[in-house]
């Protein structure tokens, strides 16, 4: 565990995250232009999707896989209910803020997922290519639960002025991360290992380096979120950012044992469950629950849970998975 934690903390990716975090906390004026960071994000999702798709092209679809998808969707649907309950009971967040926050914790963070695959790779632990597809299906269901929770008890409300039927649906199912991840997955499956040779000098070799640059930016965002946002949160809400991933990971661990997943996939399912969205879900929440305060859910998901998972969570989940599998 300590070895893992150290390996994680001394990986260049995490070190650049910490650099960004420190720069932001020291109020450095540095920033990475939004257009450039968005371009990198699309690159990363293409690369992850292709990798997963190529891996899937080599292994047949099994019944076990279908079970994993079903459980993953069930987790994404149900985790927000737990998150919402916890927030409403312990913190002073309004119903809408609690529901919007809950949606983030049911959904996933693809960068956290990637960081976990890197740690697995460096520890020589196998994981399945289709876990990228599992990540993709866990993006959206949480939003549905959250909307249900937010509207409970209210009279059926009119739609917001100017809204169009289908706009939320499109935002949730056709946002950039879903389109690129699922699209690249399918393309990866179509081109297979042969087609991959041409594009791996762009999508495989520099991947780690690009991730460093991206995490520098995430560190800057997280640090700035923390600096501006923590005042808006009470201790109970801040605590939620730490204990909620642990709850989610525990449930995912139980599910993984039922499914008979091996160490790698179990770790990844725990990581997906424990991670919280900070790009796709915030955008959907601005459309669906515009009254909810972005500073609440972003401070929690990007400022607290993301760093926690990167520095502590991932090695912890892996250790637990190894221990549950009787390994070391």
């Amino acid at each position: 565990m300590l070895d893992l934690a150290l390996a994680t903390l001394l990986s260049p990716v995490v070190l650049f995250f910490v650099l960004g975090l420190i720069a932001a906390l020291l109020r450095s004026s540095m920033s990475i232009p939004e257009a450039f960071a968005k371009g990198l994000a699309i690159y990363l999702m293409m690369a992850i999707g292709l990798k997963g798709g190529i891996a899937m092209s080599e292994s047949p679809v099994t019944l076990a896989m279908i079970g994993v998808f079903a459980i993953a969707i069930a987790l994404s649907f149900s985790l927000p209910a737990i998150a919402y309950g916890a927030l409403r009971v312990t913190s002073k967040l309004s119903r809408t803020d609690a529901a919007a926050t809950a949606a983030h914790y049911g959904s996933i963070s693809i960068v956290t997922f990637v960081a976990a695959t890197q740690l697995l790779a460096s520890a020589n632990i196998e994981s399945s290519g289709y876990m990228v597809a599992v990540a993709a299906v866990m993006e959206a269901p949480a939003i549905i639960t959250a909307l249900f929770l937010a509207s409970r008890g209210k009279q059926k409300s009119e739609p917001v002025a100017g809204s169009e039927s289908g706009e939320l649906f499109r935002e949730v199912l056709l946002n950039a991360s879903v389109v690129v991840l699922v699209g690249a997955l399918i393309i990866g499956a179509l081109i297979g290992t042969d087609g991959a040779a041409q594009i791996s000098p762009f999508f495989v070799d520099p991947f780690q380096g690009v991730l460093c640059l991206f995490l520098l930016d995430m560190g800057l965002s997280a640090g700035r979120g923390l600096r501006h946002g923590w005042r808006q949160l009470d201790g109970a809400a801040l605590g939620f950012g730490i204990y909620m991933p642990l709850i989610s990971a525990s449930l995912a661990a139980v599910a993984s044992i039922l499914l008979g997943l091996d160490t790698g996939d179990m770790t990844l399912l725990m990581v997906l469950s424990a991670s919280a969205s900070y790009i796709a879900v915030p955008a959907a929440m601005r459309l669906a629950l515009p009254e909810a305060k972005p500073s609440v859910y972003l401070t929690l998901s990007l400022g607290i849970t993301f760093p926690f998972n990167i520095a502590v969570g991932i090695p912890l989940y892996l250790t637990v998975a190894q221990w549950l599998q009787g390994g070391a």
Binding site: E34, V160, Y278, A283, R286, L287, P290
Partner: protein
């Protein structure tokens, strides 16, 4: 020159399309959207390049239109602003080619 109204709506980027639909269905013949870079309001600051979630990004929508049409748009926009963050203001301007509006 001819008197018209200039609407300036500072609103979240995600609500831009909703506001656009309202303007269009009220009969406004055109609008232009300008990106905002940073802002301050109710004690909070935001800055585009410093928040990768982009969830606090604002835009400024400018629409020039006849007074009557503008009045119709304002009622609906007010409803939109009940839900979304936004600052709306209207001023007097003069234009050259009145038939365009």
């Amino acid at each position: 020159m001819h008197a018209m109204k200039r609407l300036e709506l500072i609103i979240e980027r995600m609500a831009m399309k909703r506001a656009g639909r309202i303007l269009e269905s009220a009969g406004v013949k055109g609008y232009t959207v300008v990106p905002a870079l940073a802002g301050f309001g109710q004690g909070t600051y935001w800055q585009r390049d410093r928040d990768m979630s982009a969830s606090q990004d604002m835009v400024v929508m400018i629409a020039i239109s006849r007074e009557a049409v503008m009045q119709a748009a304002l009622d609906e926009l007010q409803k939109l602003l009940g839900a979304h963050i936004g600052v709306l203001s209207v001023s007097d301007v003069n234009v050259l080619r009145p038939d365009r509006f």
